[in-house]
Point group: C2
Chain length 90, copies 2
DNA sequence: TTATTGTTTAGATAGTTGTCTAATTATCTA
DNA sequence: TAGATAATTAGACAACTATCTAAACAATAA
């Protein structure tokens, strides 16, 4: 039994920087530029982390002009968590 | 904000082999020797995965003679999951 | 003690990941 | 179109991870 998307989700969640990004986005959407002010890493590194979170469907993105707003996707997060927890209960 | 133990938990969960190990252990405890019959990896590799799960407190171990029985620790699993989920809700 | 079974540790190696700088793409404004 | 701003992509590199074989450790039985 393999859980492709669950593995991707857990991998995305298993980095402190990405956990912190989710914390920052859990209340309000934010651009990479704004997010970068909270982290001591380069913008390309931050962009890399956002791409991983996005690929795992943990965040959504919306472009507004030059800016891209990222937001936490709680629905997908809970769906995947429940999927794994339920598979443990069976 | 950093979540040391949560990171260790997610890292432990982010490997398909380890997810599969937890599935195998969720109903009944099992020895590495027995577990090995279900996986196409060497026993040292399996032992390595068990050590990672054990360090993350996702499984418990009990030696009985020559054998060591590993079992899924659901309590710790749910505690850590809830800790992360609650920190997202705040 | 010696042999057997069960498991882990040691050491090596290929593949993956997080980071950086430099370059590129996308959008807006003058 | 040119210049400025926002963000990503490309390429390189060090650190980490999963895997293997061989060796070592632990417990039991002859």
């Amino acid at each position: 039994m393999v859980f492709e998307d669950i593995t991707e989700t857990f991998k995305a969640l298993s980095d402190p920087t990405r956990q912190d990004i989710l914390m920052r986005l859990r209340r309000r959407r934010m651009t990479p530029g704004k997010l970068a002010t909270y982290f001591d890493i380069s913008k390309p590194s931050l962009s890399h982390h956002l791409a991983i979170l996005h690929r795992a469907n943990l965040i959504d993105s919306e472009r507004v002009g030059q800016k891209i707003y990222y937001s936490f996707n709680a629905t997908v997060f809970y769906e995947i968590m429940n999927k794994f927890i339920n598979s443990l209960k069976k």
